[in-house]
Amino acid sequence: MSKTPTVELKLPVLKNMELVATQTSEVVSKHIGLSDDKSAEISMALIEACINAFEHSETKLEIYIHFMISDDELTIKVIDKGKGFDASKIKIPEIDNKINTSERKRGWGIMLIKELMDSVDFESNDKGTTLTMVKKKEKNE
């Protein structure tokens, strides 16, 4: 059985480090043959996943990103060793509830990731969170 080709990144919790991840995702997306639009969607989802890992996990340690390459899809895992979260408690944001109300304007990350990727899954406990997201290649790409 052959091992899935994987690119692994370790990012320090520093400002704008999510852009390092997007540079890697662009190269990997191109290798798989994903369209420019899909590559941009992956970059956007990855930015949000990194920001969540940096900010909400409250980890002071690095975060890890694995890009797992196959012929027909790209699977990305974003792993932090932070405090974890309960995905069932996340509210879906709605702009009409945010404008002219006291509701905080932020909180869009998970919704954006779900909208931009083909599948998204979370495993989280008090030792950290692994977000797994997949973008599939179309047959004609």
Partner: protein, 113 residues
């Protein structure tokens, strides 16, 4: 890495052009410049994102604050020259329910005149 590259007033429209990653820092810079013009009596703002091809939700959330602020004074925020992924992100977030998006600055200025 990212900054406001130009601000000018065309008729009654304040045009703010940016470059680079629309993150928290750039969002706050836009908001600060917009505030100065709001204090000066301006109500209509066009943000030209031609040279910004990447955004995060924190930067976009600061723009929601600006939309809200402009609604309070019967003002308006519009965008032009959006990269497809930024336009898609704004649509997902619902910003485009509150802000018109124009293909170019020229078309935006013509429509707002």
């Amino acid at each position: 890495m990212s900054k406001v590259t130009n601000t000018n007033v065309e008729g009654n429209v304040v045009v703010i052009a940016t470059e680079g990653y629309l993150n928290k820092d750039l969002g706050e810079e836009i908001q600060k410049i917009a505030q100065e013009h709001i204090d000066g009596g301006n109500k209509i703002f066009l943000i030209n994102l031609k040279s910004s091809n990447i955004v995060n939700s924190i930067g976009a959330s600061i723009l929601i604050e600006l939309i809200e602020q402009l609604q309070d004074i019967d003002g308006h925020l519009v965008f032009c020259d959006l990269a497809p992924i930024i336009e898609k992100t704004f649509k997902i977030m619902g910003l485009t329910k509150y802000c018109t998006v124009y293909p170019s600055q020229e078309e935006a200025i013509t429509a707002l005149a």
